[in-house]
């Protein structure tokens, strides 16, 4: 019986010869990740279990990205727990102050996560790395503690769902629109416990940024992991970054899938997910007149340089509507620097945008752009649950950088064609 890419990667991290969906396995972990919200719990559990040294100081990476620069006294205390642990353990890859970026943009950019890897992260958007052809999934703090201790984690091998993308993308349609459309079709639990494997002729024309965005949001459909078969695009991205070996995997032609979803991307227009679920999607032509108070362009979903380029292309020579607060958050210091060198920051400043340092900040209602009762935001982020960006009476509309930028100018939700 053939195997999927997900099954093969998992198999090669065990001593098993055969492995298929449904099996419960213990697997070796290549990279274990935590952040300033989840790591303090994990560190506490690690120490309670008598842990002295992490299993491998090259393979545990703790990034204080959610509430840094420290947003208040309590989060400062949590970051301090993380920072002291990183120093005490003498971890090889450390990020703080001006080297901090949003973890899921930062790790691939720095070549720390590679194709064929098995990655766990105490953060639900760890699934982002599937874009590289790695198995990556989010877990909780206790799982992270266990991996820091043993280097292994338990998994139930997921069934896979094949998403076949074919056709050419329309103008202004990006990976964000594809994944929002797919979540809209299958629902927020449509891929629960499953691997979402993206294939089809469209994939070859998707850059890494689009693939990261799509893999990032599979958790919003309940999936365990999202995965792309690595190709030339992957190779070009990885070659200039990797400092260790990587491995490309592919699915067998006779691999078994729980289901297949066929998506003709040429029929998809820019998408907007209405409150309060990422599955509540509509095409931009069906949005109607919705006034907005804030636009956020950033996050692990859409804070990459390609995203900022699209936004800047639309904002060039324009200003955010007087009623709109535009917040731009480059996801990593390297992206920030590239945006500066390419003149994008100048364009954003001329558009009256606030430029935030790299942080998860407002995406999860942390800080750097919290909404009041009754306020509405268009955000390139990943979740629009009740109260996600602030008051429970506020609303978040999820969209691509193109739609977010156009909406900022117009003061209402709209695509670039309305400008």
């Amino acid at each position: 019986m053939g195997m999927t890419i997900t099954e093969k990667i998992l198999r090669d991290h065990t001593d098993l010869k055969e492995l298929h969906a449904g099996m419960l396995i213990n697997a070796r972990v290549d990279i274990a990740l935590g952040n300033d919200i989840t790591a303090p719990f994990a560190i506490e559990e690690f120490q309670k279990a008598g842990g002295t040294d992490v299993f491998d100081r090259d393979r545990v990476i703790l990034v204080p990205d959610h509430f840094t620069p420290n947003k208040d006294i309590q989060s400062a205390a949590q970051c301090k727990v993380l920072r002291e642990f990183v120093r005490r353990q003498n971890l090889s890859h450390t990020f703080d102050g001006g080297t901090v970026g949003i973890e899921h943009a930062l790790l691939p950019e720095q070549g720390l996560v590679l194709p064929g890897d098995l990655v766990i992260g105490a953060d639900s958007h760890t699934c982002t790395y599937g874009a590289l052809g790695a198995f990556a999934t989010g877990v909780g703090s206790t799982d992270l503690a266990a991996v820091m201790l043993t280097g292994e984690a338990w998994f139930k091998v997921p069934e896979s769902m094949k998403i076949v993308l074919h056709g050419n993308l329309r103008r202004w349609v990006s990976g964000k629109d594809l994944i929002l459309n797919i979540i809209g079709r299958i629902g927020v639990d449509g891929a629960r416990y499953r691997a979402m494997e993206f294939t089809g002729d469209t994939v070859a024309r998707l850059g890494m940024a689009d693939r990261f965005t799509m893999a990032n949001m599979v958790i919003e459909a309940g999936a365990k992991n999202g995965i792309f078969i690595p190709d030339d695009v992957t190779e070009a991205y990885v070659r200039e970054r990797a400092k260790r070996k990587w491995k490309f995997y592919d699915s067998d032609p006779d691999a078994v899938y729980a289901s297949t979803l066929d998506v003709d991307v040429s029929k998809i227009e820019p998408q907007v997910a209405f409150p309060h679920l990422p599955s509540n999607t509509r095409g931009i032509s069906e949005v109607g007149e919705i006034r907005i108070d804030q636009v956020v362009i950033g996050s692990c979903t859409n804070g990459r340089i390609e995203d900022l380029r699209v936004a800047a292309g639309i904002l060039k020579g324009r200003e955010a509507a007087p009623s709109v607060r535009l917040i731009v958050i480059p996801a990593t210091p390297a992206i920030y620097r590239a945006a500066l060198q390419e003149g994008l920051i100048e364009i954003f400043l001329n558009a009256n945008a606030v430029i935030s340092p790299p942080t998860c900040g407002p995406c999860l209602g942390g800080y750097m752009g919290i909404l009041a009762d009754g306020e509405r935001a268009v955000a390139t982020t990943n979740r629009n649950f009740v109260g996600r960006m602030g008051h429970t009476g506020s609303e978040v509309y999820l969209a691509s950088p193109a739609v977010a930028a156009a909406s900022a100018v117009l003061g209402r939700i709209a695509g670039p064609d309305s400008l």
Binding site: S124, A146, R192, L364, F385, V386
Partner: protein
């Protein structure tokens, strides 16, 4: 594993931001997290909920973030167990790892009202609605490995016991 308590009923897709809003993730103190459990859905939930009470929910309970603060807040609020139609996978994993008993039942949600009392028998795989003449409702069996985790008192304790066992054999 038997639980008897008052039902607090919630719908489908109860996300981790609803269970414990991110604005409270600046602490890891269970008592403080418990004070804000379900706050955005029911501001008085933490004050009203009693020890041994049970949450009954619909599909995909605990979707969203990987924050373990969610099962911790529920447990620290006094909730004995959660019975849902289904659970989001990271929440499911977290609950077993840190020792919050959870059960899947396709039938219970439609049969029970908030405020009623139920008896959940994890060993026999049955739920009884107290005071009802109806047949006991079935719950999905818990996979053996998960039973082991609960029996050992969570993942970290399970690992410690395995290590002790391995050393004992040497």
């Amino acid at each position: 594993m038997k639980f008897r308590g008052k039902v607090w009923k919630f719908g489908d897709n109860i996300d981790t931001d609803a269970i414990i809003p991110a604005r409270y993730l600046t602490t890891t103190d269970p008592a403080e997290l418990a004070r804000h459990c379900m706050e955005d859905l029911d501001a008085e939930f933490a004050a009203k909920v009693g020890a041994d009470d049970i949450i009954v929910a619909g599909e995909n309970f605990g979707c969203g973030s990987s924050r373990e603060h969610a099962p911790i807040a529920i447990k620290a609020a006094g909730i004995a167990c959660v019975v849902a139609r289904s659970f989001a996978r990271i929440f499911y994993r977290n609950a077993f790892n840190m020792g919050l008993p959870i059960f899947e039942s396709a039938e219970l949600w439609d049969r029970v009202a908030g405020g009623q009392h139920i008896e959940v028998d994890g060993d026999a795989g049955k739920i009884i609605i107290v005071g009802s003449e109806a047949q006991p409702l079935s719950i999905e069996p818990i996979p053996p490995f998960m039973q082991e985790l609960i029996r050992d008192g969570g993942l970290m304790r399970h690992i410690a016991l395995k290590k002790q066992h391995a050393q004992g054999r040497k």
